[in-house]
Symmetry: C2
Subunit: 242 residues, 2 copies
């Protein structure tokens, strides 16, 4: 059976304007590879209701899982929850279970539970909550769409709670063979090896270090035996590597 | 006149598998904001011909400019040039001007001009070349689609050559006001300010430093007078900020 597929949707004007360098997609990409979930697309869009709704419909419809990051805080620009509810045709309102979690979180810290904070208890009808051990306010899953915070340590904590609940596949394993030659010098041989091992994805990534050209050859596969065979062939073809 | 719009398409399996943390989109996002080009979407996809072709058609059709990064090197997994040619229905082959650039680059360095390197002279019919002062192999523009390398220093050099040729708009300016309070504490006041200044985008970005909650309030606009008025209102509403 092929591995399940996924997309990541990052929501936030601050990324599109160059203010913030996004890191949640990179973090989750690594986690998904280890979980055997095949990430097909990452998309970054702004804080716009219609844009979010359209992207959620398209990406949730085209993949087994969709993960979103950003826009679920207490301020006026946090519109992800409402847009996701609209995408799935669900009602959204303050929900008692989420309200209780927030109330307990703030009570334990002596923090006032204001109307702005109550906004974070707005959860689409029928959604399952995603635990937020950092700051209380939960994420949620509607069907195959998992809505999480943009703040990196909260996002990572939510992913840690969510991923074990999802059905994964065979982890994507990768091995790297580094050569101190320009990639053009090995392109033909590498292309032949890639053709001979169609079940293994072979990538070639050039770099320059101290004025020297180098190339990292990366073999990736979900089948460890196929990966090992292809990697042995790589090593034999380019014995000068390491 | 509204600013022109843009999308960025990043091409490479190494990003979707979590091997590489992408940085070209963040770099270009900042450059586009300064050039007055309104970045609407960043998309990351894998090295797959049909996926690239479909994404190029959709994003070039939906935006004034499309910038791509990755997949134009000499190896078998470098398929961007062919996919972009297909997206625009153009023929692609080794082109004499690109071949001459590469021949001169390698001759000056005493490097052999191999068939693999010749692959980098494959340019879609009618495309304009984008200069690569780092490693010779040019990028190219087909209609509104600008195809550049994935290696960061080459990508940045290509952007530096390309951007002055494009029609920009009013630069997006931004000002930040930092408060050492949780964002929920100022959400209502901020929402009212955002409503009162509809021509200015106001974002709220929480952080934690040394156990203290803080919030960066960011006002963005292309009209400096509107930005200054909104920022003065922010400062007056939250005099404890800096």
């Amino acid at each position: 059976m092929p591995n399940p597929t996924a997309a990541i949707l990052i929501i936030g004007d601050e990324i599109l304007t160059g203010r913030t360098r996004e890191g949640n997609a990179h973090f989750l990409a690594g986690e998904l590879a280890r979980a055997g979930i095949d990430l097909r697309q990452i998309r970054v869009i702004g804080d716009d209701h219609a844009t979010i709704t359209a992207a959620v419909r398209e990406l949730a419809g085209g993949h087994d899982q969709l993960f979103t990051s950003g826009g679920i805080g207490p301020t006026h620009d946090d519109i992800t929850a409402d847009a996701v509810a609209a995408a799935f045709g669900r009602a959204i309102d303050v929900r008692e279970d989420a309200r209780a979690i927030l109330a307990a979180h703030y009570a334990a810290r002596g923090v006032e539970f204001t109307p702005a904070r109550m906004r974070m208890a707005r959860i689409p009808e029928g959604a399952a909550l995603i635990d937020n051990p950092v700051s209380g306010a939960p994420g949620f899953s509607v069907e195959n769409c998992h809505v999480m915070a943009g703040v990196p340590n909260i996002f990572q904590a939510m992913v840690a709670g969510l991923l074990p609940r999802l059905t994964g596949g065979a982890p994507l394993e990768s091995r790297t063979w580094q050569l101190m030659v320009a990639e053009a010098a090995i392109a033909d041989q590498l292309g032949a090896l890639a053709s001979a091992h169609p079940e293994v994805s072979m990538g070639s990534y050039p770099f320059v270090t101290e004025g020297q050209y180098g190339t990292n050859l990366v073999a990736r596969a979900t089948d460890p035996a196929a990966l090992n065979a292809a990697f042995a062939a790589l090593q034999a073809a380019f014995p000068e590597g390491k």
